[in-house]
Symmetry: D4
Subunit: 206 residues, 8 copies
């Protein structure tokens, strides 16, 4: 706020009445507000409570008012992931960016097992100012992206996998140890944090 960042509400460990109370205080001031990781039962209740609100049941993002930044009109942030399993993280970043007034485009078909799909997109991806790359299992996608593209890269490990990679820790450690240059990392499933980090960079970008 003091820093020009809107306040965002962590929804996972707040009860429905507490969430409603907080959201009403924003609403009464005429402000929009964003809550993340809101579980489905609470999200559905909030959606019917606040007219004109948005609830994305894949990511659990709730917003008092639908952000009106259109999907991908400019070339600010590209959101890359391997497939539909990572969508809950991708969407958290996507709606947070919209809420912040930034433009984001989603690339969900960029798997590393088939490296050619990524290679064929390299030129198109060069246009974006910041790249957010989400991956679960062994989390190798940011390494491949980092070897092919020069922009700032924010890697987000996703808690997708089983056995040794069950909770996202392997993807996290892979991203932290990446042999590709200058990749930065945020917490497991922290699409919100990746969006905020992109926002900090975009504020500085010509």
């Amino acid at each position: 706020e003091r820093l020009g960042f809107p306040e965002v509400i962590y929804g996972a460990s707040k009860s429905l009445p507490v969430l409603i109370e907080i959201l009403q205080s924003y609403q009464s001031k005429g402000l929009n507000a964003l809550a993340t990781k809101v579980q489905p039962d609470k999200g559905v209740a909030l959606k019917s409570q606040f007219e004109g609100s948005l609830y994305d049941d894949i990511s659990g993002v709730f917003a008092l008012r639908e952000p009106n930044a259109p999907d991908s009109p400019s070339n600010e942030v590209a959101l890359l992931s391997a497939g539909t399993s990572d969508a809950f993280v991708v969407n958290e970043a996507f709606y947070t960016l919209q809420f912040l007034g930034c433009h984001a485009a989603r690339y969900n078909d960029i798997g590393i097992a088939g490296i050619h799909r990524l290679l064929s997109k390299v030129d198109e991806l060069k246009k974006y100012k910041v790249l957010i790359v989400v991956a679960g299992f062994e989390g190798a996608l940011p390494t491949a992206v980092g070897g092919l593209l020069p922009q700032p890269i924010i890697a987000v490990p996703a808690s997708v996998g089983y056995g040794v990679s069950e909770n996202g820790a392997v993807a996290l450690n892979t991203m932290l140890s990446s042999c590709a240059n200058g990749i930065t990392v945020v917490n497991i499933d922290n699409g919100y944090g990746a969006a905020m980090a992109a926002y900090r960079i975009l504020q500085r970008t010509a």
Copy 2:
């Protein structure tokens, strides 16, 4: 290289003869070269082998030729840390930035236990384009910085501490879980990676 990044040599697990061979191949092409995490015995030997070279025995950085970017002439990157214990990481980032032609200023007196020292520097720190924040023990410094300053922040955990914080993992996890908005993180002791991430951002910055 393809991406405009100079190649940097990881020195820790290479023998002296191997390092000399690699460095000579750069030298023979008239190129400068940087090696990181070079242990003291190898560093001293390299220094006497290559005339005009630089070896920083605090960080283990070796460069064929002294980078000539002067200390802190502009306001590109601020390097913050609590004290002298973190200097080995700070210096790795500092010399890598110089090697990349970026300007960096070191702030080593910014301890969080005495929050007033940080508060008194906030205005001066606002001038930098990117902030790299190094911390060991519980690693709380980036959270405090993130609550006070709006720039891109790259947090680097340092392997300084004992007991539960012996190897830097507590600092790493603190930084990843930070309640301050949009902080990104690199591997423990990875001053080099933080510098490269800053470089990616600076390339995009007006």
Copy 3:
């Protein structure tokens, strides 16, 4: 008991019949009794079984008789936390202190991301004899408090967070490694233990 401490019942792994039996034996002796971490279904059943009893569904604390120590009349213990997510731990400490006949005041609006909220309360907080500080995620609040206030500080990590900080272990380790002087720590979510530790100190305090 021998030490002047009332016995407190650990409710989480006891069945309802076992809890009722134990509580009735206290009741029949005319004693009050406290049970902690009682799950909602059992708590509601106990409340209707024992007239005049208290069940706090946020913390799971049950007491045979409502403790009659009023909220915050004197300046014994201040309970600090960042927000509503930590309330389940705060309340466990709060009701235990009341049960022990100690006076406690709750400060739930003391977040470290906005350091100014804490700074504005420092003078008021100086009046308390003991500070209990609850924090989840990266658990940095006790460090900030410890740098600003001279009293005994008991830090309680809360199992609030996700990704690397999911179960409270990061907050615990941060508190144990704190660079602030002389902070002591109890188990994750152990509001009860923090209250007992405060009670040991208050017994010695003028």
Copy 4:
């Protein structure tokens, strides 16, 4: 300092020249100063550099001037441990307390395997205002003490043991999970922190 606490220097990760520089700045202001976890080679050098200084080679504590608080003249703090293996932690707490002007008595013969040794000391131990209890291996001593004595207890896990208890983590976790009431804990080997926590309590004690 602001809080009335003297500044203490963490010696483990500072080079000899850096330590000398810091200590001279204290000396030139006529102040005493304490450094902890100073390795033997550096400790011996400091001792010969600064006349009238103290270096305890068991704990690695260095002080510019010998603290003159006599051993155990009053009944402020009792330091309990099982035997000589824990002495490096006990002494760090002991000399820090002396430096802070507090009186401490050491009880090194209180093993839990032979519970009768502890039982025979209970009456004598009741006189102290604060108990610091150090233990390695399984770390059960604080639990036994906590069941027998009502004072504030600060437990310190020691990195003494092998196999599963090699680095002190088992002792730490035992102390945090103790079924004895109201035991507080500091980091592994953190005798310094235990002393500071005792000091915070003693400041409040009649």
Copy 5:
């Protein structure tokens, strides 16, 4: 079997039809059979399927025929634990011993926080040939028992606790690092294994 041990069925990861099939094959040979860790729904179904069978819903032990060894007629095995939370492990050992034709007595009131309860039972406990000691949380009970009694001791960690001791690992490690002499340990919650180990000893005992 070849070794004179009856075969015991691990019930947790077998479906009801699979369990019924296995048990019927024992029944058709006129043999008794034991299954452990059978979940309530399956246990209740088995109980009504097999007439004269036993299902203990605390431990999940199922037996085709009620073992007829009376509770505690001789002095073979004493089962010690702190309280009712550990009963699910105690009972698994108890019914397995009965199935093996051994006599076992349960002592559930032996808490270490009140060491006097244990001290008052020492003479009575001296009569048993083997001691099985179950403990959760910090798991210190076997250490205390081992310092007071000379028999073979089999310690069983119970998955009772929260925070750092949530899954029984702290109790396990405490038992493995015990400073009491010659304590042996089995897996967390493995009452069955403790009973089998006691049985191996009893076969050798005069």
Copy 6:
């Protein structure tokens, strides 16, 4: 002692002067004494200090007087291991048993990769009252032994291995999870504890 067990000194974290002082106090009372895990430099010094003493440089066991129980004259304890790498643990158990007046025989050629070597010894091994089984790497030897022999089995994980099994933790966990019936376990490298556990059993054995 009270329990009829001789006191054994843990040598690893005691300095040479401290060890000499303790040993002299035993010697002056005409008692034998055993110290375990005494490092080579201290062991050699003790050996020359105390005439007629024993120091085994493989295990680090020191005894004031050579125990005079001959190697394997009766059939009390068999010590099994796969090969020479485990000898440091085997010998700690062996000399402790001798010190306790028990008879022990070593079988170092019983590898599980070649199961036929173990099978060929089964009849001979049936004669012993207690089996101690030492294994590093994956620690599977006790499982095989437990499937073939009915006696009490004490498994000792050895810190022999590399990669995932570097510190003995894999062997420990394998032994704790063994599908063979009634195997008990002691701490990693704890040959001393295994000997004491065998001694407790032998005291009860006809």
Copy 7:
């Protein structure tokens, strides 16, 4: 695909509509398709949606068309496990192999606690080209197999067990540290991966 491998769908983290969409796109191209780790509710729905499809509710494998490779007609792959608890992993490998057109035979009665059952099958097992060995708990079966049979061995840890072996990590580490020669390992519960690894080998085998 490019490599001649059919694409297999990871079903666990995909919603039913997403799965249906993907499967229909395969169906419309006249292709068979396999999905793994499909939870029961989704599996049952898919089975009724796609006529002629296969859903194995033990492993969660779904196939658009029943693979028509008969059970075990030739001697390509033997699937070994100790018993019914491991069947969910065994079946994932079995149906994947069928889908790949390979012949597999299941040996579910090969427990290591009774080593004779395995020994009696050695000659029969010699006929297979590749051995896949599944084990939970301590995971020792592959070691025994590796000491008796010369073929390529792919070991699969199963998440079957409790206490220290709850999630399959002990079995995994045991297999990685096996003292038997040349055993390879895949992720916990990864029957699919084991089948693919066998397929890579069979493609090269005469």
Copy 8:
């Protein structure tokens, strides 16, 4: 042996005299013998003790007689790694393969950060029957190889890295979770095991 595998000696935890004794027993039978992970001091001593022997000081492999299989004459096994840091593992596999009479070729210049180097070798690599892929840090190389080549792949994590990837565990977990199909894995630094696994496959290969 029984299986046609030569016995290989684990050298790391054996003393020089023990190694000499074992090797002489092979020599006296006219057999060659291989020892792995022999530390430099012991390796040098063995080399001068046994005429005509081989000691590779990079991997620590010792062989009584130089294997005479020439480097890479046929197309049996390709050994891939990113660079010189992994050479200690590569060479262990290389010399073991030679000892087993297999032909191996080393590709040390195949880094994933520069994916084009790998792409340019794909056709050449198609000729080999088995691929062994060694990687440290985040260990992503096998995933890339697995997406491009159809042969059996044995991945070996190397203990090369720092921070979170210090001991090779990240590389191990990455390889186990790889999204590329059918990759198998051996223990960290286990070049020997990878060679034996390749040997098992080659025995079956036309």
